[in-house]
Symmetry: C2
Subunit: 320 residues, 2 copies
């Protein structure tokens, strides 16, 4: 089953969110409007809005409240992608030129700032100080994660803990908080929204590990960007950590640098793919998914629960 | 009288804010801590915290509430400076190397993001949705201003209105909001805090115009960076707009480009200084100050009012 089929009952609400997303980044500045729309229109899975809406089903589901949280979280994610592409000097994202490639780094920086600020504006409809504390704390952690990622580039001797902490900040926290804020905005009690947070956290960890695996196993068409990009940019992901355990592969990995040719990097990718690194990485991802499903069982039954289960299972075997 | 002397009665509270500022950007990431502290320790006038505290005097003055607002606003300002220096490719700020010069653009971008996110975290102590709406809306406007500034670089044919709108977004709004949020955090009623906002807006406009004049008339020592930097970077400020009215000066101004030598740019600066552009610019600044003082008269009497009057008057004749 395709991901979108799993939550087709949310379609009309997701259409509302899609419209609100475009509305949210309308700006008096044409340059800002174009740069902001550019990435948004290239698509994306909108997985954070989906989590917001599904979590909202555990309480008083009101799309006119939840849409603001959903749009805010998707925009925060979008803003971080725009800034990421500056850091990674990336040319392509979702099969389209990045903002920094189509315009420049300076435009990308302020476009990210703008999208981020707009998301904050939308969040102010939520009259709940706890929600704002959770969100701002998450953003702080995301920034720390980004800086640590820069610092750890091409550092081949990092350990599993460093990696897991980094993907927590980079991905899992924002997914966890999408779940939690959706629940809070629907008036769900604390005991429950903390469990929904945990579910999101575990799913987010699995999601990022799968993403890091796909960077090796996916095709350029599936990924919307060349494979092996992470490694080429010096981002040491889980498959690299495992492949590194083999001394001869390790020697090749440590030779990786930014200016490598496509042929050279493809050889290293092949080595990693033929090792047991992919399998080992997916096992760790599975472990997080098992935890996610266990937390889910503790939640009250409803339609969202089945869908969250399907999504979690999908993440373990996704191809894009 | 020196600026700091005017509000010496705030000294002990400003010391608290100085400590809180340092505390606020402590981070588990050493790189982030160093980069954030770097700019903060280079000083700065802390004019936004001063406005927050003075505005707080119109209501229930509680330093333990106000300090969070003051620190948040100074951090937002600091974050925007870090991002500004990336845009302007600036090497020096407050007489020290900029974050982007000491580290690089990528570190500067995320340091800015981090400081900004920390400021939001601090603001969540204010349990007032209106305050959050005001702040996030201001940040959106500041971002639009920044993008417009990039777009308008080296555009020598812009008019007074474009310039005024840009400095409103760049400077005046955040000062206005410092005044307003200080008042709101002290429980000041709407009629009054809107007037305090207006005062801040007029003072902010005058402040930025004076700043733009000083970029021509100040020495490198006074400014902490070389004079004429704005023009060299293509930022068309008020003195340039006035000087441009003289066709022969206009011809020289339009030759300005990024790679000009110091000698060449100094010749253009001299031309602008010897024209009536400086005097005309200061007249516009004075007009805003007169408006600021008029609004101030409508506010209830207290010690803060006299100080705000002194500060407004100081801004008109400041040298740094």
């Amino acid at each position: 089953m395709k991901l979108k089929m799993m939550y087709s009952f949310l379609n009309s609400d997701l259409n509302i969110i899609e419209k609100e997303l475009k509305k949210a980044i309308q700006s008096k500045s044409p340059l800002l409007r174009q740069a902001s729309l550019h990435l948004l229109q290239a698509g994306g899975k909108r997985i954070r809005p989906v989590f917001v809406l599904l979590a909202g089903r555990f309480g008083q589901y009101d799309i006119h409240v939840l849409k603001n949280v959903a749009v805010a979280l998707e925009l925060i994610h979008t803003a971080s992608l725009v800034h990421d592409d500056v850091i990674d000097d990336a040319e392509l994202r979702r099969g389209e030129l990045t903002v920094k490639a189509k315009w420049d780094n300076r435009i990308a920086m302020y476009t990210g700032d703008y999208i981020f600020a707009r998301s904050l504006e939308l969040m102010t409809v939520i009259d709940n100080v706890q929600a704002h504390k959770i969100l701002s704390n998450t953003i702080v952690e995301v920034c720390i994660g980004e800086i640590e990622q820069i610092k750890d580039k091409y550092k081949f001797d990092q350990n599993l803990r460093t990696y897991l902490r980094r993907i927590k900040r980079k991905t899992a926290l924002l997914i966890a908080v999408s779940c939690q804020l959706g629940a809070i905005a629907a008036g769900v009690e604390e005991e429950i929204h903390k469990k929904i947070y945990k579910f999101g956290y575990f799913v987010g960890m699995a999601f990022q590990i799968t993403d890091d695996v796909l960077d090796f196993t996916g095709t350029e068409k599936e990924l919307g960007k060349p494979a092996g990009g992470d490694l080429l940019q010096g981002n040491i992901t889980l498959p690299v950590l495992f492949a590194r355990e083999n001394p001869s592969i390790r020697a090749e990995i440590e030779k990786v640098h930014e200016k490598m040719t496509k042929k050279e990097i493809n050889q290293v990718i092949s080595l990693i793919k033929t090792s047991d690194a992919i399998e080992k990485s997916l096992k760790i991802s599975d472990r997080y998914l098992t935890k996610a499903l266990a937390v889910l069982e503790e939640l009250p039954p409803n339609k969202a629960k089945k869908t969250l289960r399907d999504i979690a299972k999908f993440i373990g075997r996704r191809k894009y």
